[in-house]
């Protein structure tokens, strides 16, 4: 099973939710409990251990917020 890790350049996220909509393992959501530096509710990964490094979120992110790593194992 391929494992991955997604990291968000949080302060450039505009909270559009496109990453959330395409994540096949449903581990992303918008953090509605706070706003980031530019006034949006940023996306984050709430179950990082489930990431499969598919890059879908990064591919559809319009603001190039997301970096994806593949964990070798």
């Amino acid at each position: 099973m391929i494992k991955g890790r997604v990291s968000f350049n949080e302060d450039t996220c505009k909270g559009c939710g496109l990453c959330v909509s395409v994540c096949p393992v449903k581990i992303l959501k918008l953090d509605t409990s706070r706003v980031n530096a530019i006034g949006y509710t940023p996306a984050f990964c709430f179950e990082p251990e489930k990431c499969i490094a598919c890059s879908s979120c990064a591919l559809i992110c319009p603001d190039v917020v997301i970096t994806v790593e593949r964990l070798e194992s």
Partner: protein
């Protein structure tokens, strides 16, 4: 552990000024990634147009010339003719390319101008507040077609890729979209091919990208992608309309 996706060097550090969820950002990134992968950032010249992408010269990490509304293909012609070693591409919306700039785009294709055109079609004038474009769908409500586009009065939407493909000078014409990871990957492949045509002096190349305008359409970002899939793609079919095969 290895990084499999990070921001391309083809983009500057300036954050995009586009609305949340606007797919301009995806298209910018794809073009910039292609510039990096083809190792041409250093000799590329972006011709920025007028519309939402008017400030694209802030985002692409290469030299740029800002053009008047619709004139980007003429400006690109000027740059490319005097600097044929430069990679010259325009980035134009549908108001710019399909309305005020139809003369310039048709004639640049007609001359077989060795430039690449990224044509972003979102069926509306976004920057000026959501007015009707020549590409606006039948019945679509905009601020200047408040009762829906009436095709008897305002015509049927214009299909630019199909038209350009009929011009002998056009070497590569493809319509793509960016609504999910699969279509995004395909869009990038087409954009890369288009630049490869230019690298091989193959003539005019254009990629039309069906894009969203969630603010102008009055939809959420996610619903906007559904609108492209369900409403735009049936009228503007995806696919290649012209490929002289010069990119490989």
């Amino acid at each position: 552990m290895s990084v499999i996706f990070k921001k391309t060097k083809g983009l500057t550090d300036t954050p995009f000024t586009y609305c949340p969820g606007c797919t301009h950002g995806i298209i910018h990134r794809l073009v910039a990634e292609v510039l990096e992968e083809l190792n041409i950032i250093d000799r590329s010249v972006l011709i920025a147009s007028v519309g939402c992408s008017v400030m694209s010269y802030e985002f692409f990490n290469c030299d740029a010339v800002q053009a008047a509304h619709g004139r980007a293909p003429a400006v690109a012609t000027g740059v490319k003719r005097v600097r044929p070693d430069s990679i010259v591409f325009t980035y134009q919306g549908d108001g710019d390319l399909a309305s005020i700039g139809t003369g310039e785009i048709v004639q640049a294709a007609h001359r077989g101008e060795n430039i690449t055109v990224i044509f972003v079609n979102n069926a509306i004038y976004g920057m000026t507040g959501g007015q009707m474009a020549p590409t606006t769908l039948p019945g679509q409500v905009t601020t200047t077609s408040p009762y829906g586009r009436d095709t008897h009065l305002q015509g049927e939407p214009i299909r630019i890729s199909e038209m350009i493909a009929t011009i002998p000078g056009a070497a590569f014409v493809e319509r793509v979209t960016v609504v999910d990871p699969l279509t995004i990957r395909k869009a990038k492949t087409a954009i890369k091919k288009a630049f490869e045509v230019q690298l091989r002096n193959g003539g005019f190349s254009m990629v039309e990208v069906l894009s969203s305008c969630n603010i102008g359409w009055g939809l959420s970002p996610v619903d906007s992608l559904k609108f492209i899939k369900d409403k735009m793609v049936p009228y503007y079919p995806l696919g290649n309309f012209k490929d002289k095969g010069v990119q490989s």
